[in-house]
């Protein structure tokens, strides 16, 4: 099934065109010209300076400056350096990297070659989640075409620069989206995140200096090199430039992908682009950036989708996965699904996370069954609070935030369950 975005901009402009998935088609649209420019007319430092100046922020969830990340790679030493492309997209609500692989693998590979040149990396490992069989097949085809055309391998674009790409297939574990969990997994181990420091730029894949970037982050790079930092800064907000591909799911008329400038208002995306809630029902709440990000109630959707604005409402852009819930939705059920997920996916390494995710899920399920007490609400917040900022990676925080968000905005749903001793929302989705 072809599922191209409903609204497009520079990243996804040609995703409806089958030819764009081939090297010839990509080149006919100006593809690989940016890599040629970077490798033949610029120095690695100039490329890093350009990307830094563009203000590009990582699109994998944390939103860190991409140019800054590249600049952390050591410039000297004879150790091999690596890039890792994080294509382990598994944040619930996110499905943009999939289309970027299925329809835009050449674009991403061009970004990888530019990043490799800038950071001096000799090899890139592209870690694709195991379930993405079809995207991985498209990517493998693109890699083979790029090798055949001399865009990867010994002499990239006829220059002295050498670069290899290895497509690595994961095996189903959410935690491998965390960059050091991913590195452990790449090394053939359980995907349990590493303590930091050292950061990957010092000690990354196989112990070597490594930069990890997301699929979408790499995909922006050729456009920045081709059109310049000022062009990029002209799109989006002052602090969050460029577009992103929002994924809209849940109770909307037109779920799907929408490439729009960062800073597009959430209510515009939900009501104008995605057509609002079906059958004239009302919105109850919207998760703005993948399941780890705290929910916003219907009255707070007038927010530009960029971190500087979302933070004021105690949430974040995350991966731009927007989940819409209508007025029939029981928020305790939502909490039950969310806490089950984090309980299931905790890697078990840190006590606060392993135990905390389990207890949050048990308490929420007790409330949903009608067996909870008023004290359970504060107990939930107490457990969530004790998970934050105490573990090796941000997974525990990501598990605590949505629970805190649901209790902040929908506490009455939880209280009503306790009072009535049952779920009061007969029309809510099935659990």
């Amino acid at each position: 099934m072809l599922t191209v975005p409903h609204t497009t901009s520079y990243l996804s402009e040609h995703f409806g065109d089958d030819a764009f998935t081939t090297l010839a088609g990509y080149r006919a649209r100006g593809g690989w010209e940016a890599a040629k420019k970077a490798l033949t007319k610029m120095s690695p430092d100039e490329v890093i300076a350009l990307v830094k100046d563009s203000g590009l922020q990582g699109r994998g969830g944390a939103g860190f400056s991409t140019g800054m990340k590249w600049s952390f790679m050591p410039k000297d030493g004879d150790q091999p350096k690596y890039l890792v492309c994080n294509a382990d997209e598994s944040e619930p609500g996110s499905f943009k990297d999939r289309i970027l692989l299925e329809r835009g693998s050449q674009q991403m590979l061009e970004g990888i070659v530019i990043a490799a040149f800038a950071t001096g990396a000799e090899k890139t490992f592209i870690y694709v989640r195991g379930e993405y069989a079809f995207p991985a097949e498209q990517l493998r085809r693109a890699v083979a075409e790029a090798y055949d055309a001399g865009l990867l391998g010994e002499k990239v674009l006829g220059t002295k620069f050498k670069h290899d790409v290895v497509v690595h297939i994961g095996a189903g574990a959410y935690i491998c989206g965390e960059e050091t969990g991913l590195l452990e997994s790449l090394e053939g181990k359980k995907g349990q995140p590493r303590k930091k420091p050292p950061f990957p730029a010092q000690y990354g894949a196989f112990g070597m200096p490594t930069t990890v970037n997301n699929v979408e982050t790499f995909s922006h790079v050729p456009h920045i090199v081709r059109n310049g930092a000022d062009w990029f800064k002209g799109i989006g907000t002052e602090k969050s430039p460029g577009t992103t591909i929002f994924g809209v799911s849940g109770h909307v008329v037109r779920p799907g992908l929408y490439e729009l400038p960062l800073g597009t208002r959430l209510d515009e995306i939900v009501f104008e682009h995605a057509g609002g809630v079906p059958d004239s029902r009302k919105v109850k709440g919207v998760i703005p950036g993948g399941m780890s990000m705290p929910i916003l109630p219907a009255g707070q959707l007038d927010v530009p989708m960029a971190n500087e604005f979302l933070r004021e409402r105690k949430t974040m852009l995350g991966t731009g996965g927007i989940m819409v819930m209508d007025e029939t939705t029981c928020m305790v059920r939502v909490a039950s699904v969310i806490t089950y997920f984090f309980r299931d996916e905790s890697c078990g390494q840190c006590t606060q996370c392993r135990e905390g995710t389990g207890w949050m899920n048990k308490i929420v399920e007790r409330i949903e069954r009608g067996a909870g007490s008023q004290g359970d609400l504060d107990l939930l917040l107490d457990v969530a609070g004790k998970m934050e900022a105490k573990t090796i990676c941000a997974f525990a925080d990501a598990a605590a935030w949505p629970v805190q968000g649901l209790l902040r905005h929908f506490r009455e749903d939880f209280e009503e369950h306790v009072r009535q001793g049952k779920c009061p929302f007969s029309g809510s989705f099935q659990l």
Partner: protein, 155 residues
């Protein structure tokens, strides 16, 4: 030896692509599983030898990842995504109907060994829910009739 010479050659090719041998362990597990449908204790021991690891190192990797199996499975894997975006659009109702249709519960295999049914966490198809993954293929925007049709067509 349960690992065939062809698969062994493919594993050796994978090993060449990584700076350290162990990097090829996940690719090797995928290859072994393609042949046998799961990774048996014998296969895990042979992999441990190839990778110069203890068998337990291989077993703990198998048990950590959802997509590796340490026991025989049905000929086809059917997974319905039940994460939030899919649940909001009826995934759990669909899964219940498929359980009834196949006469098994989640986690079980049909008595003829044809289908193992499961539920899975987010598969990255949130805008096209409900959906199910049948072996390597995604089936999206499903309703019960279409889902049953797909299952009935599996050999």
């Amino acid at each position: 030896m349960v690992i065939s010479p062809e698969t062994r050659t493919a594993i050796d090719t994978e090993i060449q692509r990584y700076p350290k041998k162990r990097g090829a362990l996940l690719p090797a597990l995928h290859l072994v599983q393609q042949d046998h449908g799961y990774v048996s204790p014998e296969a895990a021991r042979e992999l441990a030898q190839i990778f110069e690891l203890m068998p337990v190192d291989v077993m703990e990797v198998i048990s950590f990842y959802n997509m590796f199996y340490d026991r025989p499975q049905g000929r086809h894997h059917v997974y319905v995504c039940t994460n939030l975006p899919c649940s909001l659009r009826g995934a759990r109702g669909l899964l219940e109907k498929l359980e009834a249709h196949l006469g098994i519960e989640v986690g079980e295999t049909t008595s003829d060994g044809r289908i193992t049914l499961g539920h899975e966490e987010c598969l990255g198809a949130c805008g096209y829910a409900p959906m199910m993954r049948v072996d390597g293929n995604y089936h999206e925007d499903l309703d019960e009739a279409r889902a049953r049709e797909i299952l009935d067509a599996l050999g």
